[in-house]
């Protein structure tokens, strides 16, 4: 939903109470803001823009794969396309999407704070993100890398394509991720409203807190790995060069030490969003609040122990492979706990089927299916056949598109009235949701079968017998593309001409709904004193009592 600066003027036309959107409508007031809500909106706009850039690359790749032989593009540009699809989608969309866009907006509201702990740092984090993105785009324009988003040495250190600018871009975006993580951890520790102890924290705050721990502790290792590859490319120091004693598997260890926890950066905030939406739309208290909260922390910590399951087939020792396989099994347990508790939350609730709830059903199915194929991959012997085939591609797309993007859309619709004070058209919402769920299945179920059939990933040309499944997958991909475009259309329309939303359209008892929507710049006139758990629907009165402090 392309909210350029001009749109924000149109928004302010509606005669609403003075809120953060009116508070200064010049471009400078947005670009130089200290308000966590405006930084959140700016992140949201840029994140959605990059989602469509990445999506475009995805459609080009799927279009090429219609034919087994050379078609539409040559090998080198095809390799560049899937590399840039990976980099743009992961570093520019998935990692900042929910923590920086919705986390920035909603977290201070949920804990009853006026702003994040370090507002200037928050703005710096946005500009680091934009700076890194611009450097990466400069690299893309000048030819872009053809190494895959994993930059495996020694190919990444020897290929003549423009890898260095993209590596520097990823390095800078890493800092933006670190600063956001630091900001959220300190905010949750020091800026909670009176009466809001740890056991009353909303579940979205728990999962964003756990994500921030991963962001702070894992991203530096990516920074050093990316820096070493850049040093190797420019200086020829030979740290990953096998001819000089370098060990390519060392690169993979250091890369996956970041990238596996990064997968949990991408999936934990969506789980937080789903916990909120399930409670709000089934109007019931979270079933097993402690279980869901602590399993978020569990995923954050145990996630650091399992990176070796990416190296089962990479020449890693059999003994250490077994250790990593066993540890990977425990991470699956925490996701299972969450799923059972979400479904438990629906039991004896009062479920209203709105668009976010449609995305929740999609999310649940895809998270369980994607998650369990992940655990199947971690059984070491099956990974031998599946590694680096389309089975793995389908697995992580089930989690990233099936779980993360669905939850992103659920969050977008759930907090749309809170952020913009407008309601979207429910009918179109459900149409788009069903289009996306159908298109998603049609795209990635054939890829699971392609993986079983033995088609390796990142293949420009493939043997003929894989063509049928590839054509089916491409058809599904176009359907998926239409679904996303449809969302942009009707959300954009309701931004301009949508009817005004009242302050709590869903009747949800999450803490962020205690204040007006869209909220005033200073969030709360009076900081509320929280008296009960979030989402406690036994009575009607709000879950926080506004007492004169």
């Amino acid at each position: 939903m392309r909210l350029s600066e001009a749109d924000s003027h149109a928004l302010s036309g509606a005669p609403a109470a003075p809120n953060y959107l009116h508070d200064g409508t010049t471009v400078m007031s947005w670009l130089n803001t200290r308000d966590h809500k405006r930084v959140g909106i700016m992140f949201l706009v840029s994140v959605v823009f990059f989602f469509f850039v990445g999506g475009l690359f995805a459609l080009l790749i799927r279009f090429k794969l219609l034919q087994p032989g050379p078609f539409f593009v040559d090998a080198l540009s095809y390799n560049r396309m899937f590399t840039l699809h990976g980099i743009v989608m992961i570093f520019l969309f998935l990692i900042p999407a929910i923590p920086s866009a919705f986390g920035n907006f909603v977290l201070p509201l949920m804990i009853g704070a006026r702003d994040v702990a370090f507002p200037r740092l928050n703005l710096a984090s946005f500009y680091l993100y934009l700076g890194g993105a611009l450097i990466a785009i400069w690299g893309i324009i000048h030819g872009g890398a053809d190494t895959g988003w994993t930059f495996y040495a020694p190919y990444s250190t020897t290929t003549p394509t423009q890898v260095a600018p993209i590596l520097i871009g990823v390095f800078v975006i890493g800092f933006s991720s670190i600063l956001t993580g630091i900001n959220f951890i300190v905010t949750v520790h020091t800026l909670r409203a009176p009466g809001l102890n740890w056991m009353r924290l909303p579940l979205f705050v728990w999962s964003t807190y756990a994500t921030s721990i991963i962001q702070v502790l894992a991203t530096p290792v990516l920074s050093i790995t990316v820096a070493l590859v850049t040093i190797e490319r420019i200086g020829g120091f030979g740290i990953f060069d096998p001819a000089r004693g370098g060990d390519p598997v060392l690169f993979q260890h250091m890369f996956w030490f970041y990238s596996h926890p990064a997968v949990y950066i991408m999936v934990l905030p969506p789980m937080g969003v789903i916990s909120e939406c399930v409670c709000a739309f089934s109007r019931k208290n979270p079933f097993g609040y402690k279980a869901i909260a602590f399993s978020s922390l569990g995923i954050a910590f145990v996630g650091f122990f399992t990176w070796g399951h990416h190296l089962f087939v990479a020449g890693q020792s059999v003994f250490v492979g077994g250790a990593f396989g066993l540890l990977s099994m425990f991470v699956g347990i925490f996701t299972a706990i969450k799923v059972f508790n979400w479904v438990g939350t629906m039991y004896r609730g009062a479920i209203s089927f709105k668009t976010p709830f449609a995305y929740i059903c999609g999310f649940l199915y895809f998270l369980v299916f994607g998650g369990m194929t992940g655990v199947a991959l971690a059984t070491t012997s099956l990974d031998i056949h599946w590694h680096d085939t389309y089975f793995v591609v389908a697995h992580f797309h089930f989690i990233m598109v099936g779980a993360s993007v669905m939850a992103f859309l659920a969050a977008l619709h759930y907090w749309f009235p809170k952020m913009f004070g407008k309601t979207y058209h429910e009918g179109w919402g459900l149409v788009a949701a069903s289009l996306i769920i159908l298109g998603f299945n049609a795209t990635f179920i054939p890829q699971f079968l392609l993986g079983n059939f033995g088609m390796p990933r990142r293949y420009y040309q493939y043997p003929e017998h894989f063509q049928a499944l590839n054509v089916a997958s491409t058809a599904g991909a176009t359907l998926l593309g239409f679904g996303f475009v449809l969302i942009v259309i009707y959300l954009g329309i309701s931004l301009k001409w949508g009817s005004r939303a009242e302050s709590n359209p869903w009747g949800s008892k999450g803490f962020e709904w205690l204040t007006a929507s869209p909220p005033p710049t200073h969030n709360f006139d009076e900081i509320p004193t929280i008296t009960q758990m979030p989402h406690d629907y036994r009575t009607h009165e709000p879950s926080g009592v506004i007492r004169v402090a």
């Binding site: 702003d115 993580g181 300190v186 020091t190 530096p220 290792v221 030979g238 004693g245 060392l250």
Partner: protein, 217 residues
């Protein structure tokens, strides 16, 4: 929100959204420690590389570390430890309301840091002279065992990145020196100085591990 208790502070210290100065100090300290955790993990990557290659080429690493300037390395360690002391004393003087002494200690720290970089420059020039350089530039006659180039690759990358952190620490300390001279820090508010000190202590901490691993084993 009662701000009277925090009166008597220079303007702009207490941010609007913090309830009390103690809470804001707590937040800044926690934020700084989280940043230090990222620095520790940044060097964790380098130490992993060191331990993997030391495991693969034990003789080459032992032999090469004997060709490093051990005396200069030890002097550097003493210089950094002393600079850690002077930064700690600077914080102590700020807490006991003697900003001039604190400023003097900060100047001492900056001089010691310059000394450290100077000694490092001498060592680097020595390496350039005897061609004991990383990767493809390695042409050191004294050590021919395979894996020797890898030792110097790690030596230059680890000490180089540590040197960058020393320079960053000097910039931070000189910024804090300026604010100390402006009389911003007193026993009621010295958090800014303390955070600068924390960063400098971390730089010293990393060198405490680098020194034995590179020079002595």
């Amino acid at each position: 929100m009662s701000h009277e208790a925090e009166a008597g502070l220079p303007p702009g210290i207490l941010a609007h959204h913090f309830s009390s100065l103690a809470r804001q100090n707590e937040a800044m300290r926690l934020g700084m420690w989280l940043f230090l955790a990222t620095e520790i993990l940044l060097f964790a990557g380098l130490f992993t590389g060191y331990s993997v290659y030391r495991f693969q080429f034990p003789e080459a690493f032992a032999e090469c570390s004997r060709h490093l300037e051990l005396t200069l390395g030890t002097v550097n360690t003493v210089v950094l430890i002393t600079s850690s002391l002077t930064v700690a004393l600077a914080i102590h003087f700020a807490r006991t309301d003697s900003p001039r002494a604190a400023a003097f200690c900060l100047v001492l720290t900056l001089l010691l840091a310059l000394g450290f970089l100077g000694i490092k420059a001498v060592e680097y020039s020595e390496h350039f002279r005897e061609r004991s350089l990383p990767g493809k530039y390695y042409a050191f006659e004294a050590v021919k065992t395979p894996g020797a180039a890898m030792f110097f690759t790690l030596y230059f990358i680890m000490t180089g990145i540590h040197g960058l952190h020393v320079i960053a620490g000097m910039l931070v300390l000189s910024w804090i020196l300026r604010r100390t001279l402006q009389g911003r820090y007193s026993s009621r508010y010295y958090t800014g100085l303390e955070l600068g000190g924390l960063y400098w202590h971390l730089v010293d901490l990393v060198w405490i591990f680098l020194y034995p691993l590179l020079y002595l084993i």
